[in-house]
């Protein structure tokens, strides 16, 4: 038996009410964390507390509730920014990573990309870091090219260098693949891209929830992540960018909150980051995200990572004994986020997920919003088990038993 988890998992599990739920009469084994994570009671309480005690709009109401809501919203911004080594003025609240990349597409891309320009992304991206650039390229007459992969599921740096020689306008890359788990050296990639004159966008949706991240060290022009994948509510996320970068950009959406003055023939923009937060913002969920950040910071992201590496080691060892198990992506836990993509013999992932669901086990099956990567892997779909702080060795052992049962049903 391997050494125990990096911290008291049972104590952590007790903070998540949903983990007491039974599914088909079985203990819930939730391994779909790369899709969305469960919420600790502290986050749920923060939402309830906001709506039951000080619900109000922010920034313009001078009454007590308005002051309290503004204070809580801005404090959530400060906490979240600090969590990733940024300053509050550098954090724009958005709906999630997808809205962040689309914000960059419009507010930066419209102004900076011209006909004939080159945009670069990679084959391991989530659709949210591909499709906005496809749309941008199409609207501007620019070209989008993809950095290739090595057979072990890492980025082909030679392919990146070759594309950088073509002086791209933009390089968009994920910090951690949501399918392969590959952790990219985004600091080195951003440095190279900057030397080549490119603006950089890093998708942090799978890194901020699992690793210690310092956006200053990464050095991307834009760094995006989602709250719901890091124990926070859905509908809230962040785009991190330097104050100067944000100031030079055009607004994203027009409306209330983002303006300073409005005349019949023109308007002036609010200071950053408010210039990019048009309309009534998602106050409650931002406060919820602040509570999630508090929760993760109290454990410490280095501990979270250590825990997930142990889970990965246990999983890679345990699951490799299952008949027909095939792993995709890096084989070493040190190079990998807490994501295991696999197939079991010729069982289609959807059939596998249906069988595991009967055992109370939630995994993801499908293309994981990464169809170019699926084509590169030459599979229609994969199954994916992904971890968070509340997962235990027991969860992985339950998965192994479930996979063995699926193998028997399919006579593998």
């Amino acid at each position: 038996m391997l050494k125990t988890e990096a911290f008291d998992v049972e104590k952590v599990r007790a903070d998540f009410p949903i983990l007491k739920r039974r599914v088909h009469g079985k203990r819930l084994v939730y391994l779909d964390n790369a899709a969305t994570t469960q919420k600790p009671k502290a986050v749920i309480d923060a939402l309830v507390d906001f709506y039951s005690r000080y619900n109000s709009n922010v920034h313009r109401s001078v009454h007590t509730l308005g002051e309290e809501a503004t204070e809580a919203y801005e404090s959530a911004r400060s906490k979240t920014a600090k969590f990733v080594g940024a300053s509050p003025k550098e954090l724009v609240f958005v709906r999630g990573t997808t809205e962040a990349t689309n914000l960059v597409r419009f507010a930066w891309g419209d102004k900076n990309v011209r006909k004939g320009d080159l945009l670069v992304t990679t084959l391991m991206e989530h659709h949210s870091n591909i499709v906005p650039w496809q749309l941008l390229a199409k609207s501007k007459g620019a070209t989008l090219k993809f950095v290739g992969l090595n057979s072990d599921g890492t980025l082909d740096m030679g392919s990146l260098e070759a594309l950088l020689d073509e002086s791209p306008k933009l390089v968009a890359v994920t910090h951690c693949s949501n399918v392969l788990g590959t952790i990219n050296d985004v600091a080195a990639i951003c440095a190279k891209a900057r030397r080549a004159g490119a603006t950089t966008v890093v998708d942090g949706a799978q890194s901020v929830p699992h690793l210690p991240v310092d956006t200053g060290e990464v050095g991307a022009d834009f760094y995006a992540f989602s709250g719901h994948k890091m124990l926070g509510p859905t509908g809230i996320g962040a785009l991190i960018a330097k104050k100067k970068t944000l100031e030079e950009m055009d607004p994203f959406q027009g409306g209330g909150e983002m303006i300073k003055q409005v005349f019949q023939d023109h308007s002036t923009w609010n200071d950053v980051p408010y210039k990019f937060e048009a309309g009534t913002v998602n106050i409650a969920d931002a406060i919820g995200l602040g509570a999630a950040v508090d929760y993760l910071a109290a454990i410490g992201m280095a501990k979270v990572r250590e825990h997930e590496v142990r889970l990965l080691d246990h999983a890679l060892q345990t699951l490799s004994t299952v008949k027909g198990f095939k792993l995709y992506g890096p084989q070493d836990s040190q190079d990998k986020g807490g994501v295991i993509s696999f197939n079991l013999a010729d069982i289609h992932p959807h059939d596998l997920a249906t069988i595991l669901d009967e055992d109370g086990i939630a995994i993801r099956s499908g293309h994981h919003c990464a169809q170019p990567l699926m084509r590169w892997l030459d599979v229609p779909a994969t199954s994916r088990a992904s971890f968070q702080v509340y997962n235990s060795y027991d969860d992985i052992d339950a998965l192994k038993v479930g996979l063995d049962r699926a193998g028997r049903i399919f006579k593998v």
């Binding site: 010729d346 959807h350 059939d351 069988i355 009967e358 169809q371 699926a406 399919f410 006579k411």
Partner: protein, 139 residues
């Protein structure tokens, strides 16, 4: 629900050894569809003979056992039938053909993809348009 019921021997057999799998060189009807949720994919070709009969039918595709077995079984049922028969086929017929497995809402789409492809092709050939019933209203 038990997956032992869903993945009976016969379903696995049709999944691994699909009947009527392949493409027709000459055909009168061709139809293709995907289930974007799963990425399940089915393509069918039909050759129409005298009296509007389905003389030949073949399919190709990739996807889960339910979608592929269902499509394969459906081609066997359809062969030799008149095109009008295709218009009459219902989802209840498909479930019966599969042995009435207790499928969740997301898996029902897998089971019905083959029928959708067949109906779309045949309706188009007959100059009509097949509209898939909106399941969401019944929930």
């Amino acid at each position: 629900m038990s997956s032992a019921d869903i993945y009976r021997e016969i379903i696995l057999d049709y999944y691994r050894n699909p009947r009527n799998f392949g493409r027709l060189e000459k055909y009168d009807i061709e139809s293709h569809d995907v289930n974007p949720l799963c990425g399940d994919e089915i393509e069918m070709q039909l050759k129409v003979g005298d009296g509007q009969k389905i003389e030949e039918i073949k399919f190709t595709g990739k996807g889960c056992a339910i979608s592929q077995a269902s499509a394969s079984m459906l081609t066997e049922l359809a062969k030799g039938k008149q095109l009008e028969w295709v218009k009459e086929v219902s989802k209840e017929d498909i479930f019966k053909m599969l042995g009435d497995p207790d499928l969740g809402p997301s898996r029902v789409k897998c089971a019905l993809l083959g029928m959708k492809v067949l109906k779309t092709g045949v309706y188009g050939y007959l100059g009509a348009h097949y509209e898939e019933p909106d399941e969401s209203e019944k929930r």
